[in-house]
Every structure is written in structure tokens, then in C-alpha cells.
């Protein structure tokens, strides 16, 4: 194996558990400025060991805030308290009174400083226990027996701005979620009532030992995540959507599962115009990944989401350089080929700008822009040329791209061309466009910079929360299984 002298690995910053409960303080301060923050809740940068001069009063005020019910000492445990974002946890509450109504609540403050929450209503059994994996939520932001509902059913707290979305930018730090149990069935006012118990958990996009490496080579800009260990590893070229920027979290997660994954910044990265991004940009990126000393050059995949899928289908079909062992396209389409550059591609789409629809909630529906392709006969990606296994993940309620219709047409074309055996299609009814890693909240409509009109709109992605959550979990498991099947030599 060649020496690793070329790469200066950026080692993982040591993770430190946060001191104090600044989140709880911030929430209470932001939410209810009238609510006096009790002294011993402040972060202990210089903590009073006993609050100066007021010990009895602060205890009395805490008792006043507690409900008039007599108190037990309920125990809330969440296991594991630190995990990858796609790992499941077990929530168990014990020592409640029997047949007691409680609410399980989750709270997250994002990097954008917004607060998101979810909650479920439960009743303890005759032993005073509630088990999240076995018991049904009777209401709240999710219902039924849903172990992870407290994460995927999260939504911005009341009073938040419209159209918010969560996209973790710094993947080397965790998402910190406060899980609490409250007495009674609450649907609001969580910040006004002290919970019976709270547990703090961390959700990580990187497993211990994953390395993050900046890629700035020729004009290619991206980030490479390497799994722990010496390698070599199979590689994945990860293409996000038209939101632009460098979205790292999926690549970080793929590296945590054993794949060297390169997140590529391709939608007019710094110093490049849309005209400069043509097929050769992606070929260069692919070569960088392929030639990396710890990547197995004949165990590669290309993975695309949304606009990234449009690109993936074209480059895999037409490029002489990009010849992966398999590829995955999530909610994409073959109806618009990428054969010149990004600028030309957008111009082609602009021809259909009159097909943009708006619903009663003023949310933009994008799917028809691609569905109705202008020239006759339509120019589509010649999927008959694809020579590697292809997995299409499609959402039944995708309002941004005609993913399902495109998949059906791709199947017909490949049948005709004789390479149908390479195709696998997964369709998820009730799921929207943004199929993210599992346990991510469902974003039905969010703020978006629409390339077509250069306007800031609220774009409708679609989907119903419960079905969408199921789709995210199943699609991720199947994607990992697909990648392992074709990239790990057996």
C-alpha cells in the first residue's frame, strides 16, 4: 500500500460533553423572558457551589414551579445517549405512578438557532413504566408504536419562522437533543412547566475515527471523509442537490459505515461559474477519488439526490471516465440530459418555467417543469448505455421532481435496450422529495433559492410525515445494503 504522505488528515476534534444546560437556559430566556431563570440552572463557568445567600429560597421556588401533585422520582433513560444519527435509541421511563398520563418531549436547537420539538402522549402501565419501543403514543406529533418518533416528527416550535429546514453544517459536532418527560398530556407550554426528568443525548454524523479531508485540487472543491482504520476502502462520489454549497453530512455518515465518501461542491462553487461546470468537472472529481491512495479504484459508486441524480444518470451513461461499480439515484430524473454545462442545463429547464405551479399555501410545485420536456421527440438520457447496477429510490408524493414517472420510463427504456437486469426501483408512497438519512425530521415545504427564477420561494417537497420517516429509514438501509453488495468484494 502506498505511503499516505500526500494527505494531511484532519483529525477529529476531541468531543467534549457540554458543561451545564445552556440549551435549557437559552430556551427559557428566548421563550419566556418573564420567567426568572433559577440561579443553579446557569452554566457552571464559575458556578456557585451553593448559590450565594439564597439556598432556601431557590429550593422553595423550584417546589412552587412543580405541579401540585406529590412528586415521585421518575427515572428517564435513553440508550444509547450518544449515537450516530441513524442509530435507534430506547427510551424507558420508570417509577411513575401507574396509569399515569405523561408526555415524552424532545427539543433541539439547530445551528441556525431555531428550536425544533416533538412530543408523544403516553400512559404508564401498572408498574409505572413507559417503554418507547413497545408502547403506543396516543397523540402528539406522532402516533402509535414509534421508537424514533421523537426525532423524525420534530417541527419548529410555535412562533418560528416559516419554511425552516435542518442541514447540519459542522459535522464534527453532534446534534444535542434534550429528551424530557412531563406529567400529563401536554401539547404546548413545555417551556413553562418543569419536566419530571430530562436526559440529554447526542446524535453524531461521524463515528469515532472518521477523518475529514478538504479537497481543493484543480478546480474541484469538496470534502472527503475516510472511515476509521488503514483502509483501503470502497469509494462513493456524493452529489447533493441544487441547493448548492457543500453538504457534508451524508458523506460523513457513509464514512461511518465504511465507505470513503466525497461530498462534491458543484453548483457554482467558489471561483467557478455555472458555465464552467461541465462533465469534465465531475470526471476530475471522480478521478481524485479513484486515485486516492486509500480508495479501491475498482470499488466505486456514484450517489445522487435530486438534481444530483440528474447529473448522475448522465455522467454514468455517457462518460468514458466515470465507470462506477454501481450507482444510486434518489428522486431524480432522466428527462433532462446533462451534456453541456450547468448553465445550459438550467436554460433548458427555464423553457418550462411557465409550468411552475403554486398551491393555496403559496408553495411552489416544481415537478411539471421537468415532466413536460420541450422538444419532440423528447431528448432523454440514454439509460440503455448504463453498464452498472442502478438503484432508483423514488418518492410517491414528490412534488419537486417527477421521480416515479421517470423511474417507470427508465424501466421501459432499459427493457428495450436489454439492460433491465441492472435496475432496481424502490418506490415509497406518501414520501416527499427530500429523502434524508433516517430520523431526520420531515420537511414538507421549505425556503429555497429557486435557480429557475432566481427568487426566494417556499418550495413544496411533499410527503406525509409518518410515511416519509418510514421511507427514509428503509431507503437508507437498502442503499447501504446495495452499496455493500456491489462494493465489498466477497
Amino acid at each position: 500500500m502506498a505511503a499516505l504522505t500526500r494527505i494531511p488528515p484532519l483529525l477529529l476534534a476531541p468531543s467534549m460533553p457540554p458543561w451545564g444546560t445552556p440549551l435549557a437556559v437559552a430556551w427559557m430566556k428566548n421563550y419566556h423572558p418573564l420567567l426568572k431563570v433559577i440561579p443553579w440552572l446557569t452554566p457552571p463557568s464559575s458556578p456557585p457551589w451553593t448559590p450565594p445567600g439564597r439556598p432556601s429560597r431557590s429550593r422553595a421556588s423550584s417546589c412552587l414551579n412543580v405541579s401540585t401533585q406529590k412528586r415521585t422520582c421518575p427515572i428517564l433513560s435513553v440508550h444509547p445517549s450518544r449515537g450516530l444519527v441513524d442509530e435507534k435509541f430506547r427510551i424507558v421511563v420508570t417509577n411513575l405512578p401507574p396509569s399515569h398520563k405523561v408526555t415524552l418531549h424532545s427539543l433541539l436547537q439547530t445551528e441556525d438557532k431555531d428550536f425544533w420539538e416533538a412530543f408523544g402522549h403516553y400512559i404508564s402501565d401498572e408498574h409505572g413504566t413507559v417503554t418507547g419501543t413497545k408502547y403506543e403514543s396516543l397523540g402528539g406529533t406522532y402516533e402509535g408504536t414509534e421508537a424514533m418518533g421523537l426525532l423524525w416528527s420534530m417541527r419548529p416550535v410555535p412562533g418560528s419562522q416559516q419554511g425552516l429546514r435542518i442541514r447540519k453544517r459542522d459535522v464534527l459536532t453532534p446534534m444535542v437533543v434534550h429528551i424530557s418527560v412531563y406529567s400529563g398530556h401536554l401539547s404546548q407550554g413545555f417551556s413553562q412547566k418543569p419536566p419530571l426528568a430530562t436526559s440529554v443525548i447526542e446524535r453524531w454524523h461521524v463515528a469515532p475515527g472518521v477523518k475529514r479531508i478538504n479537497i481543493r485540487e484543480e478546480e474541484v472543491q469538496g470534502t472527503l471523509f475516510l472511515p476509521p482504520g488503514p483502509g483501503p476502502y470502497p469509494g462513493v462520489l456524493d452529489l447533493w442537490g441544487a441547493g448548492g454549497g457543500l453538504v457534508e453530512y451524508r458523506s460523513a455518515l457513509l464514512a461511518s459505515h465504511g465507505f470513503a465518501s466525497m461530498a462534491l461542491d458543484y453548483f457554482a462553487p467558489k471561483g467557478l461559474r455555472l458555465q464552467d461546470v461541465d462533465i469534465s468537472y465531475f470526471e476530475k472529481a471522480y478521478q481524485i477519488l479513484k486515485n486516492h491512495p486509500v480508495v479501491q479504484s475498482d470499488h466505486l459508486a456514484v450517489l445522487g439526490l435530486s438534481f444530483g441524480s440528474i447529473i448522475t444518470l448522465s455522467i454514468v451513461a455517457y462518460s468514458d471516465v466515470i465507470k462506477p461499480q454501481c450507482s444510486v439515484c434518489i428522486n431524480g430524473s432522466h428527462l433532462i440530459p446533462f451534456d453541456k454545462n450547468l448553465f445550459e442545463l438550467i436554460e433548458e429547464m427555464k423553457k418550462n418555467v411557465d409550468k411552475l405551479r403554486v398551491n393555496e399555501e403559496n408553495q411552489v410545485i416544481h415537478r411539471d417543469v421537468i415532466l413536460t420536456t420541450p422538444p419532440d421527440p423528447p431528448v432523454k438520457v440514454d439509460v440503455g448505455r448504463i453498464k452498472c447496477p442502478l438503484l432508483l429510490v423514488t418518492a410517491g408524493d414528490d412534488q419537486a421532481f417527477p421521480a416515479v414517472e421517470s423511474a417507470e420510463d427508465i424501466e421501459m427504456m432499459m427493457e428495450k435496450a436489454g439492460n433491465r437486469h441492472l435496475l432496481e426501483v424502490l418506490t415509497y408512497p406518501g414520501s416527499g422529495h427530500l429523502i434524508e438519512p433516517p430520523c431526520s425530521p420531515h420537511f414538507r415545504a421549505t425556503n429555497f433559492n429557486l435557480q429557475l427564477t432566481k427568487q426566494k420561494v417556499i418550495i413544496l417537497w411533499g410527503g406525509q410525515t409518518q410515511s416519509h420517516a418510514y421511507a427514509q429509514e428503509d431507503a437508507w438501509n437498502k442503499t447501504l445494503a446495495f452499496l455493500r453488495e456491489h462494493l465489498y468484494f466477497n
Binding site: 457552571p44 412528586r71 444509547p80 476509521p228 488503514p230 465489498y488
Partner: protein, 433 residues
């Protein structure tokens, strides 16, 4: 230059967790029926390397699962899910007498797992593994607060669970070996108890001389903990080890200030002059100094210094005066304190006095003195700094690795269950704090 060989996949799940949680180690995509060695390495904060390894053979699908498959040799044998941690020992090049103790609880223990071809017993450093994975083991759960305490002469560290509280609490006297031992309190706080790790051995007075803390010191610590706004004042337990045990038992029996809800004593004894203090225990040891024994490698055995268990009741804590539940944990191969014999005598005393229903004894064969949280490496002996003489000696702690590790796992579970039973009100009658 990339290789086209098979690339086995090594996974450790969960890769990040508390030190007392179990994991699953699995290797896939190996050739069928192939010999491999699973190796685990910790580079400790003290700069020592600890390692463990097991020899496995993959099944017909090319998989090795540690919780299911037998290790055929290495630092452990048989089907042992967690032995890659507890059977760890210093690497061959290490200085003798090392002990594994995490001082900085705000960083995790980083464990690096590797898969090597063949059944190796050494030279792991010089070989490239087939695959590697890392795991982080934490003593601290997310958002547990750590507060240094230096008030009214008390020296210690307080750990507070997240949430509004109030919580049950533990006065943690695990520092019976000397110095500030935080990891135990950090772990208790991660399980929902406010825990004060008290430093009480090896403290220097104003003149810079070694001082033995008197009973007032412990009573003050107990009161401070009880009065903390996040603590339920009637739900405070005391847990002691080594020198912490006679102090705990003595104060619980006699002090009007220290009235714990329950008490846990690990690897200690009740031998202490009536209403005495730490200083008296030390004095008793000094008197018997000729009873020090040595094993074949000249390691010091201290257990006889307190033996035989005195018959005279004025030389022991009056166990009959204790009114709260007591959990005693003793290793039958404890070469440092006569924990087992003391436990038996305490049981006899309580049976006579009529309060034996409060007592639970956990006595573990093949187990030594240093009963730590589960999956910590076991050290049968280590070097030790004598406080007064300021010299280093080699002390024999005792225990055989496999039974000692099982005892650590079981006694920790029982400790948590005991604390939960007595500190968390599980009855229908709910008591306000």
C-alpha cells in the same frame, strides 16, 4: 495502486457509549473458515498502551461475531462479549506495575479495534491490520455538569445530572487509594445521581504535612451535599472503598449529622476503634506492621495488618447501631484488606443485634481488592506511592482476571439496583422532596 483484495468490514456497535455499556464486535466479508485475531488497544492518558486479543475462526459466511463465537486463545477464551476490554493488560514493552485509571473524565477512553490475519500473540504494532474501527467509552453522559468544590475545607468534585432535579445523591468515598478519583462519581451522575467525589487521603495541611481527615470533614461534606439545591435532602447515600469503609460505617453508626438513606461498602472493613477516625485506622495498621507479607515476586500483601478480626467490640464499629440498608461488596482474593472476613464478622454482629435484615453481602471468589466499574482492565498488582515514606512499592491487590471481571460487572449492576431501590421512591406512596 488501490488494492483489489477483499476488504473485511469491522464494526463495533455502539461505537460511542458509557463505560458500563456492552457492545457488539463483528467482522464480515472474511474468507470462510479463516483464522483471524481481533485486537483491542487503548492508549491511556498516562501514556501507557493496554491491549487484549482473541483468536477466532470465521464461519462459512465469512463472519465473526464476538458475542456468539468462541475465542480459541489470546488474552481470553470462550464466548466473551466484553473480554476485549476487561482482559486488557499492559503491552509487553510497558514498565511493570501499571494501573488503568482515567483521570480526565471529560474525554472518552478511545479504543482502537483491529482485525489481523492469522492467530497472532504479539507484534501487533508492526503489522498492518485487515480492518480497523474505533470506539469511544465515556464516564460522562452528555450534559452532566462537573463542578470543582473547595469550600469549608472540603476538597472534591461534584457531578450533576442534566435536568431540573432535584435528584438523589451519593457521597462518593472511592478515593481510598488517595488523590481525587472522579470517574466513579461521573458514572453515577450519568445514571441520575448527584455525586460528590471527595478527596480525603493524601491531603496536606497548612504546614504542608500529610493530615488524616477527622470525622468532621466527612460530616461537613455530607451536609453540603444534602443542602445542595439540586439534591433531595433525604435521599443521600454514602459509598466507600478501602479506607472509606470504616469511616462510612463508623459515621453511619454514631454520627447524628451523617444519616444516609443507604450505604455501600466495597473492599473494606469495620475494624476501627470505637468512635475513632481515619487516623485511628492508620495507627492500627502501623502497630501491626510486622505482619506485612510478601508474595514470591516481593509484592506487598497488607491484608493481615488488620487480622485477626478483633473479638473486642471496642475495636470495631458497632454494626448493631446502623439503621439503614447496607450493601457490602468483598473480593475473596483481596490481598490488600481482609474484606471477606470483615463481611462475615459484620454479618454475625448484625444477626446478634437483630438488624441483619438491613444487610446484603456480595462476596466474589477469585476477585481482588480493586473492584472497579465493569469492563475496566484488571490489575492483580501495581505500583503504589506510600504517602508518608514517599516511596513507591509494588502492592498485590489480588484476583484472577476472568472471575474478577465478572464480579465487577455483577457488583456494579447490583450497586445501581440497590441505589435505585433505596433512593428512588418506587412505592405508590410518593414522598415530596
Amino acid at each position: 495502486m488501490a488494492e483489489t483484495d477483499s476488504s473485511p468490514l469491522l464494526s463495533v456497535h455502539p461505537s460511542t457509549c458509557l463505560v458500563d455499556e456492552k457492545f457488539e464486535v463483528e467482522v464480515q466479508h472474511l474468507p470462510a473458515d479463516s483464522k483471524i485475531t481481533l485486537h483491542a488497544l487503548i492508549h491511556s492518558d498516562d501514556g501507557d498502551d493496554w491491549e487484549a486479543f482473541g483468536h477466532y475462526t470465521s464461519d462459512s459466511s465469512g463472519t465473526v461475531k464476538v458475542s456468539r463465537d468462541k475465542s480459541l486463545g489470546g488474552t481470553f477464551e470462550g464466548v466473551e462479549a466484553m473480554a476485549l476490554l476487561w482482559s486488557m493488560r499492559p503491552v509487553p514493552e510497558s514498565k511493570p506495575g501499571r494501573l488503568f485509571k482515567k483521570k480526565n473524565v471529560q474525554t472518552p477512553v478511545k479504543v482502537v479495534f483491529s482485525v489481523h490475519e492469522g492467530h497472532l500473540a504479539k507484534g501487533f504494532k508492526h503489522r498492518t491490520p485487515l480492518a480497523s474501527a474505533s470506539a469511544e467509552r465515556w464516564y460522562l453522559a452528555p450534559d452532566v455538569q462537573r463542578v470543582e468544590v473547595a469550600e469549608r475545607g472540603i476538597k472534591g468534585t461534584l457531578f450533576i445530572p442534566p435536568g431540573s432535579g432535584p435528584f438523589p445523591a451519593v457521597l462518593d468515598l472511592l478515593g481510598g487509594q488517595g488523590g481525587r478519583v472522579e470517574y466513579h462519581s461521573a458514572l453515577l451522575a450519568s445514571h441520575g445521581y448527584v455525586s460528590l467525589a471527595l478527596e480525603y487521603i493524601g491531603l496536606l495541611n497548612a504546614a504542608g504535612k500529610l493530615q488524616h481527615m477527622d470525622n468532621t470533614y466527612f460530616e461537613t461534606a455530607f451536609t453540603l451535599l444534602k443542602k445542595h439545591p439540586k439534591v433531595c435532602p433525604d435521599k443521600v447515600a454514602v459509598m466507600g472503598m478501602s479506607f472509606g469503609v470504616p469511616v462510612t460505617l463508623g459515621l453511619t453508626a454514631y454520627s447524628e449529622i451523617m444519616e444516609p438513606k443507604c450505604v455501600i461498602c466495597v473492599s473494606g472493613s469495620h475494624i476501627m476503634p470505637l468512635k475513632g477516625s481515619l487516623a485511628d485506622v492508620y495507627a492500627a495498621l502501623q502497630q501491626n506492621v510486622e505482619k506485612i507479607r510478601y508474595d514470591e515476586k516481593m509484592r506487598i500483601i497488607w491484608r493481615d495488618l488488620l487480622l485477626p478480626i478483633p473479638v473486642d467490640p471496642s475495636k470495631k464499629v458497632e454494626m448493631g447501631k446502623i439503621k439503614c440498608p447496607v450493601l457490602l461488596i468483598a473480593g475473596e482474593d483481596d490481598q490488600n484488606w481482609p474484606a471477606s472476613e470483615s463481611a462475615e464478622d459484620m454479618k454475625r454482629m448484625m444477626e446478634k443485634a437483630g438488624n441483619a435484615h438491613l444487610l446484603t453481602v456480595l462476596s466474589y471468589p477469585g476477585t481482588g481488592h480493586l473492584i472497579e466499574p465493569p469492563y475496566s482492565p484488571h490489575a492483580r498488582f501495581s505500583d503504589f506511592k506510600l504517602l508518608e515514606a514517599k516511596t513507591k512499592v509494588m502492592i498485590l491487590w489480588g484476583g484472577e482476571t476472568a472471575p474478577h471481571s465478572r464480579a465487577q460487572e455483577e457488583s456494579w449492576q447490583k450497586t445501581l439496583a440497590f441505589l435505585e431501590e433505596h433512593l428512588c421512591d418506587s412505592s405508590r406512596e410518593v414522598t415530596p422532596c
